[in-house]
């Protein structure tokens, strides 16, 4: 690899999320006022604006809502990885997030595939949530 893949950018909204990723846990925000979960992490709930939020660990199971196979990398760091899959994943808990589909069978990804979270090392202990095909359709 000629250039390293980007490391997570940690800020006040997301620090526990990225700490969770370091520990191999996918954390999402749940609102104690209305019960909704959301992605990405925020200071308040986008559904009801309550700031009464807690972090909950997602099961890490989800389904592929849509995906693309990137054939031309937008940044040099991703060029060695081409072709690779970028997907929108609907988590079992409801929220949607973006990730790559990793694994030898990634290029066989189809909409509706069941996927499970895994974590990819991005240096110095940092990790980003990623997904692998889990077999079957969600």
């Amino acid at each position: 690899m000629t250039e390293t893949l980007p490391s997570p950018v940690v800020n006040a909204d997301s620090a526990p999320y990225w700490q969770g990723a370091r520990e191999g846990r996918l954390l999402i925000r749940r609102c104690d006022a209305c019960g909704q979960t959301h992605f990405m992490p925020r200071h308040l709930c986008p559904a009801c604006w309550s700031a009464d939020l807690r972090w909950v660990e997602a099961t890490g199971r989800g389904t592929v809502h849509s995906f693309t196979i990137i054939r031309r990398a937008p940044l040099a760091a991703f060029a060695p990885r081409v072709p690779y899959v970028v997907a929108l994943i609907d988590l079992e808990e409801g929220p949607r997030m973006m990730a790559n589909i990793l694994g030898d069978d990634a290029l066989d990804t189809a909409i509706g595939d069941a996927v499970a979270v895994c974590f990819e090392d991005r240096g110095e202990g940092a990790a980003v949530p990623q997904f692998r095909r889990a077999g079957g359709r969600g």
Binding site: L5, P6, S7, P8, V9, N11, S14, F39, M40, H65, S66, F67, T68, I69, I70, R71, R72, A73, P74, L75, A76, A77, F78, R81, Y84, V86, A87, L88, R96, M97, M98, A99, N100, I111, R122, V128
Partner: protein
């Protein structure tokens, strides 16, 4: 509080395009200036007549306070000025803001411009890297996502839900190119077949290189004034009949849907203000950063039923003389020009020209009402306008 209608209150009285394509002798500001001068000449106005200026943003010349910078460059001291950023939706939104300012008495003659030297003002890698920054910096960019990739995910979902095909998307690019060949200032000058689009280098499946918009040096401008003042000017006015906007998200991961977007709502607001509907439209200039986009917009704006946008092109209905509402008669961003916010602005320029008439083979016969739709982000921000040869 009820909405103040902008119907019949203002008109576009001058339009201009800079030189387009690879224009190595020009800065981005220079392209804006050239387009503004041509628009002003078209209107028969003088620089001192301008008392308002709106512009957008620039990736190649990212000045802070771009609106003020452009006023300074042009030697203008207006009483109304801003730079607005709602991505590709910016030009249509600028028309709305200009109209509101004029109706409120805050300006009388507003110059609206956008343009960048994207072809020669940056390397291809810089261009791609800058556009990558459109993805969410913390939750999308770490995955090597790209703008074509985002639109590819939308295209794939449309294919699944409605049976839209790659051939239909390729026909968008091919039809649009045929239109561009009728435009003397279009960036692309060579014919393009559907087969060539399908065989082009893959970028982000299912989109290939020729499903993606151009990277051009280009600037565009138009002049807005009150309907009263428009009547005294030399160019045939294009009256604003209706305009509306709607915004649902910025990043695709937060889009409420990958198949239903805000164009339905922005279009409904524009139709309502104008007292018109899709059956009244003679010509449409739709945002076409990727071939899937005008397919979706044609559906959302009522040119065809939901799910039939792909067939609208494949059946030839989007073509000039195709028996329905022709789309992107200038060649769109796929073949006429794309340079930041100028891309969508050229749709407004073309709509005005179609309403004036006399465009030869490019002319839509009897064009009296034109629809223009601009979208920004990843189908995030939408603005739809209806322009008329006459007041509604």
């Amino acid at each position: 509080m009820s909405e103040t209608s902008l119907r019949n209150r203002v008109a576009i009285v001058g339009v201009g395009e800079s030189d387009i394509g690879k224009v190595p002798g020009m800065t981005g500001l220079g392209l804006n200036a050239q387009a503004a001068k041509r628009a002003l000449d078209d209107a028969g106005l003088k620089p001192l007549d301008i008392d308002g200026l709106l512009t957008a943003y620039s990736f190649t010349e990212p000045y802070f306070m771009l609106g003020s910078v452009l006023c300074e460059y042009l030697g203008l001291q207006p009483r109304f000025n801003a730079s607005l950023v709602v991505g590709g939706a910016t030009p249509a939104v600028m028309l709305k803001h200009a109209a509101e300012a004029i109706v409120a008495g805050q300006a009388e003659v507003v110059l609206v411009t956008a343009g960048e030297n994207r072809a020669t003002g940056q390397s291809r890698d810089q261009a791609v890297a800058a556009l990558t920054a459109v993805g969410h910096p913390y939750f999308e960019q770490p995955y090597g996502s790209s703008i074509p990739g985002f639109y590819a995910m939308i295209a794939r979902r449309h294919m699944l839900e409605y049976g839209t095909t790659r051939e239909q998307m390729a026909e968008v690019a091919a039809t649009t190119r045929r239109h561009a060949l009728l435009h003397p200032n279009a960036h692309m000058k060579a014919p393009l077949t559907r087969e060539q689009v399908l065989a082009a280098k893959p970028i982000a499946d299912p989109l290939g290189m020729l499903d993606c918009c151009l990277i051009s040096d280009a600037g565009g401008a138009f002049i807005v004034t009150s309907a009263e003042r428009a009547a005294d000017l030399r160019a045939k006015p294009a009256y604003l009949l209706g305009i509306g906007e709607f915004h649902t998200h910025e990043h695709i991961m937060c889009a409420p849907s990958l198949t239903e977007f805000g164009a339905t709502r922005s279009g409904a607001a524009a139709y309502r203000m104008a007292g018109l509907g899709p059956a009244d439209i003679d010509v449409a200039e739709l945002y076409d950063c990727f071939s899937i986009v005008p397919i979706i917009e044609a559906e959302e704006l009522g040119l065809c039923p939901r799910g039939e946008g792909g067939r609208y092109w494949l059946d030839g209905r989007a073509a000039i003389g195709g028996g329905a509402v022709p789309v992107n008669t200038h060649g769109g961003m796929l073949s006429h020009a794309h340079a930041g916010a100028a891309g969508g602005l050229f749709g407004i320029v073309e709509a005005v020209r179609q309403l004036r008439g006399g465009l030869g083979a490019r002319q839509v016969e009897g064009a009296e009402i034109a629809l223009v739709h601009n979208e920004g982000g990843i189908l995030s921000s939408h603005c739809t306008m209806l322009l008329g040869k006459d007041k509604a």
